[in-house]
């Protein structure tokens, strides 16, 4: 999902002290555990591990590791997680990629979490950068940018592409009103999602009333919002992060614009921010009520951490479980895991992987094929599945 090309959007939220300590302990523990060598299989995890959604990601991944080891590990070898904090920063992600590809213990990577870091580091994981020899299977968790589709044979992702999600969101929007204003954050994520939404909407007979870019430094959205008021816009699609969306919705309510808001999975965190955002429609990579497996994961997660899982945790959980299945089937080698992912759900390959986020098999670009993408409504501080929004 997230696209943050920089960590700024998230760093505004202070990290709970307890979470930080737990994280430090987890990092320390796995750092001590990985020196063992022969008896262990090592997966790396890369993401902004000090952000809230990074913490969720690591919790989901560690829950999966725990379950794998409780079920005999990988051919009686302990599965070990090697977490790397990329801070959602492209340059850090590139440095981490170079380090992991050179590390012979690491046989696969769960992550990165963001689209920007996934795209920036992919040439290294695919062995296309001249400076680093070798390749490493890269299974991104919540990277949704359409650009992740064409990065190479060693790059896969759990989340469906924005271009696929945008089709579901556009169809939901069109059912409400044919005329929609689009606001997007002016980066690869925002442009990709907004463009796919606009194309799907127009193709389905809808009309784009406005197509307005904003940036991280945009504080005042009133010119756009007042123009929408003037033009009588009823529905606004926001392709951006929850922080910007929160400012937009607050300013709209302040100006008396009564339009409804719809957005991608980036808007999910609005759920806990108060009544202002009631009725906002959000795309969901994961919903606990979506399937039996989703419910089972939610239960296990709640048991382990005393909280409900978010899509980040679910995607990371699925990523580690899928990599473990690959290592069991083809042996814990980089080539074996890559071959498993490459043929998953196809003739001669393993059957589709049944994860908490849905059934996963990959198309030729490493994108999950025909994966469910749900639309939810923020209702009374929770997210309810929007009826008819799921494909």
């Amino acid at each position: 999902m997230p696209r943050p090309l920089s960590s700024r959007g998230f760093s505004r939220r202070p990290l709970p002290r307890a979470v930080f300590l737990a994280l430090a302990a987890a990092v320390g523990a796995s750092a001590c555990g990985r020196g063992g060598g022969g008896g262990q299989v090592t997966f790396a995890l890369s993401g902004p591990l000090q952000q809230d959604y990074g913490v969720s990601t690591q919790r989901g991944a560690e829950l999966a590791v725990k379950e794998v080891n409780a079920n005999g590990g990988i051919d009686h070898r302990q599965l070990v997680l090697l977490p790397k904090d990329d801070g959602a920063d492209k340059e850090k992600a590139i440095a981490i990629a170079a380090e992991l590809v050179k590390d012979p213990r690491v046989v696969a990577l769960a992550g990165p979490v963001n689209s920007g870091t996934t795209i920036a580091s992919a040439p290294i994981y695919n062995g296309q950068a001249g400076s680093v020899k070798g390749a490493l299977p890269q299974l991104a968790t919540t990277a949704t940018s359409p650009d992740v589709s064409r990065l190479g044979d060693w790059t896969y992702r759990i989340a469906s592409s924005d271009s696929a999600n945008a089709v579901v969101l556009a169809s939901t929007a069109r059912q409400l009103t044919p005329r929609v204003a689009v606001m997007y954050t002016n980066d690869d994520y925002g442009r990709g999602l907004a463009g796919a939404f606009r194309d799907a909407l127009v193709k389905g007979g809808g009309e784009v009333a406005e197509y307005d870019p904003f940036s991280d430094s945009t504080a005042d959205f009133s010119p756009y919002l007042r123009r929408m008021q003037m033009r009588g816009v009823q529905l606004v699609f926001v392709a951006g992060l929850d922080v910007a969306a929160a400012a937009i919705i607050q300013q709209a309510r302040g100006l008396g614009l009564q339009a409804r808001f719809i957005g991608g999975d980036g808007l999910v965190p609005l759920v806990g921010k108060g009544p202002t955002y009631e009725g906002t429609l959000v795309g969901l990579l994961y919903h606990p009520a979506a399937s039996d497996r989703a419910r089972a994961f939610a239960q296990a997660y709640h048991q382990a951490y005393g909280a409900d899982p978010d899509p980040f945790a679910a995607a990371a959980y699925d990523a580690v479980m899928l990599l473990a299945a690959a290592a069991r089937a083809n042996g814990p080698t980089r080539e074996g895991i890559q071959r498993y992912l490459h043929t998953l759900g196809q003739n001669g390959g393993a059957p589709p992987f049944q994860g908490a986020t849905g059934d996963i098999k990959f198309d030729a670009h490493g994108d999950p094929l025909n994966k469910g993408f749900a639309v939810g409504v923020i209702t009374n501080g929770t997210i309810q599945l929007n009826r008819g929004g799921t494909r």
Partner: protein
């Protein structure tokens, strides 16, 4: 005479050495030629690739620049006279420039400087685009002053964006420099490898020629010495040492021939000695006969002394004659044996001559192989001339590229400020062309060096041919020596024939003596009185014995001559 068996293995014979060594040499020289061709073509390919990538970056870079500037222009226009068309233009230019920038980021071999620039450009462009979009919204809701103030505030960023875009050109220039350095390094590495191959080829050629000459000269010298000694009649010829290939079989034939000649000559000498002994025995018996004949004549005077005495004398004569006959038979056998032996000598000598002829034929083959190798090397020389022509073509292309780059520089100068970036690129293209011309020149020099080495090899092979001709000459000398031996053997055979003749004539004379004795014996008893008759018969007998004595002498002489002939050989 002992010859060590030639060791088995590929390079023992001169023919093998020349064939395999020459083939390897040809392979190395071919590798050298192909290596040069490959280097030139690879350098050309690399240059095409680099130039193509440069062209793509330049195209995308300039298209990105014009799209961004166009978008800002239409953003300004909208503020003056808003219309849906201009708004659409603004959005389209924006979308296209984002697309171009993404393509730029996808280009391979971007330098860190370029990557940094493109990230900076992306940040600035996104912000400027947002500000213009907000200004348009302000204009749409009637806040014209606010819109203009917003655009004025973003102007420093707009200027900065233009500067950053121009920095991308500078990054391209840096890339050209890096590419040209890499090409130079690659060219140098390949040159060193080719030079090493060249040196190895020259060393192998030298080793081949040296070992071949050595392999011919030493055995040749031994053979010459041995043939000379054989010609002088010394049959103790011994060919020692390690002979290679063809020389080993030649020396083997030579040694075998000498051994057999020595055996035969030894046997002939002992036979001649025996004949000599027989002849002197015969001579002394003849003298005895002559003496007894004299006695008969004397007895004739006192014939009356009785038939008893006469009869005894006759009997003694008869016995002596019998012994003489037996001896004559022995001589006859001995001389027949000589004839048989000389026949064998003749046969052996003839066979040796055939072997020498075979060896000679092999030498001619060697000469042909050397000739063929020389021809192949000459063909290589032709091939290197073709490489020369290819290098000329490359030089021509480089010159052409240089001219084009100059023209481009002139055009760029004419374009003024906008052409500045392109002028830098044109200058670098020109430098690359110069680099290529230099590389081609170096390849041409290498090829010249290779050709002079090939000429050296041709000269060396010529000298090898002369050596082979020497070998041929010596073999012919051996042939002539054998011919002399054959003539000597013929002389022996003739001498043996003469002995046989003498023995036969001796036999005839003896028969005459026998008849005369029989006559004497027949008449002595009944015609004791016919003393004249007896006297005449005795005279007749005396003449016959003298004749026999003479033929005995002749036989002795013949045996002596045979011994002389044979004693010419040292066994």
């Amino acid at each position: 005479m002992s010859i060590r068996e030639a060791r088995t293995g590929f390079f023992q014979s001169i023919r093998d050495r020349l064939t395999y060594g020459g083939a390897f040499l040809v392979f190395l020289i071919l590798a050298l030629a192909l290596g040069s061709l490959w280097t030139v073509s690879r350098l050309t390919g690399r240059m095409d690739e680099r130039l193509g990538s440069l062209r793509r970056t330049t195209e995308i870079g300039s298209s990105l620049e014009s799209l961004i500037l166009n978008q800002i222009a239409s953003g300004e226009r909208y503020l003056v006279s808003p219309s849906p068309q201009i708004a659409q233009q603004f959005a389209d230019f924006g979308r296209q420039s984002h697309e171009q920038r993404r393509q730029y980021k996808d280009l391979k071999d971007l330098t860190p400087a370029e990557q940094q620039e493109i990230v900076k450009v992306e940040g600035l462009h996104s912000r400027i685009e947002v500000e213009y979009a907000l200004a348009h919204a302000q204009r749409d809701i009637g806040d014209q002053a606010g819109a203009l103030a917003r655009v004025a505030a973003i102007r420093p960023q707009t200027q900065e964006l233009q500067q950053e875009i121009s920095k991308i050109s500078a990054a391209q220039a840096e890339k050209v420099a890096v590419a040209s350095t890499q090409l130079k390094t690659q060219a140098r590495t390949t040159e060193i490898v080719l030079a090493i191959i060249g040196i190895v080829a020259a060393a192998i050629a030298a080793a081949l020629v040296f070992s071949t000459i050595r392999g011919i000269t030493r055995p040749l010298h031994e053979l010459v010495t041995a043939a000379d000694r054989l010609g002088q009649g010394d049959l103790r010829v011994s060919l020692n040492g390690n002979m290679t290939g063809e020389f080993a079989s030649l020396a083997g034939a030579f040694s075998g021939m000498a051994v057999q000649l020595r055996n035969i000559v030894g046997e002939t000498v002992s036979t001649a000695e025996r004949i000599g002994t027989f002849a002197s025995d015969l001579s002394s018996i003849s003298e005895e006969v002559a003496a007894s004949s004299g006695e008969v004549a004397t007895a004739m005077v006192g014939i009356a002394s009785g038939a008893e005495t006469q009869s005894q004398g006759l009997q003694a004569t008869q016995e002596a004659l019998d012994e003489m006959k037996a001896r004559a038979q022995e001589i006859s056998n001995a001389s027949r044996m000589v004839v048989t032996l000389t026949g064998q000598i003749f046969e052996v000598a003839t066979r040796s001559r055939q072997e020498v002829s075979t060896a000679l034929a092999r030498l001619v083959e060697i000469r042909d192989v050397v000739q063929a190798s020389a021809n192949q090397v000459t063909e290589l020389e032709q091939t290197s001339l073709q490489i020369d022509r290819f290098v000329e073509t490359i030089t021509g292309i480089a010159r052409q590229t240089n001219l084009l780059a100059l023209n481009a520089a002139i055009e760029a100068a004419r374009a003024g400020e906008h052409g500045r970036g392109f002028a830098v690129v044109a200058e670098e293209v020109r430098k690359l062309a110069e680099g290529l011309a230099r590389a081609a020149q170096e390849v041409a020099q290498n090829v010249h060096a290779i050709r002079s080495r090939i000429e050296g090899v041709v000269g060396t092979m010529g000298r090898g041919q002369e050596k082979v001709a020497d070998v041929e000459h010596v073999s012919k000398g051996a042939d002539a020596a054998l011919e002399q031996i054959l003539a000597a053997v013929d002389g022996v055979r003739m001498a043996a024939g003469q002995v046989e003749d003498a023995v036969q004539r001796n036999g005839a004379a003896m028969e005459g003596v026998e008849m005369a004795v029989a006559e004497v014996s027949g008449t002595s008893e009944s015609h004791a009185a016919s003393a004249e008759e007896v006297s005449a018969a005795a005279e007749e007998q005396s003449a016959a014995t003298q004749e026999m004595s003479a033929s005995s002498m002749e036989l002795l002489h013949a045996a002596e001559r045979m011994r002389e002939l044979v004693s010419g050989f040292q066994t």
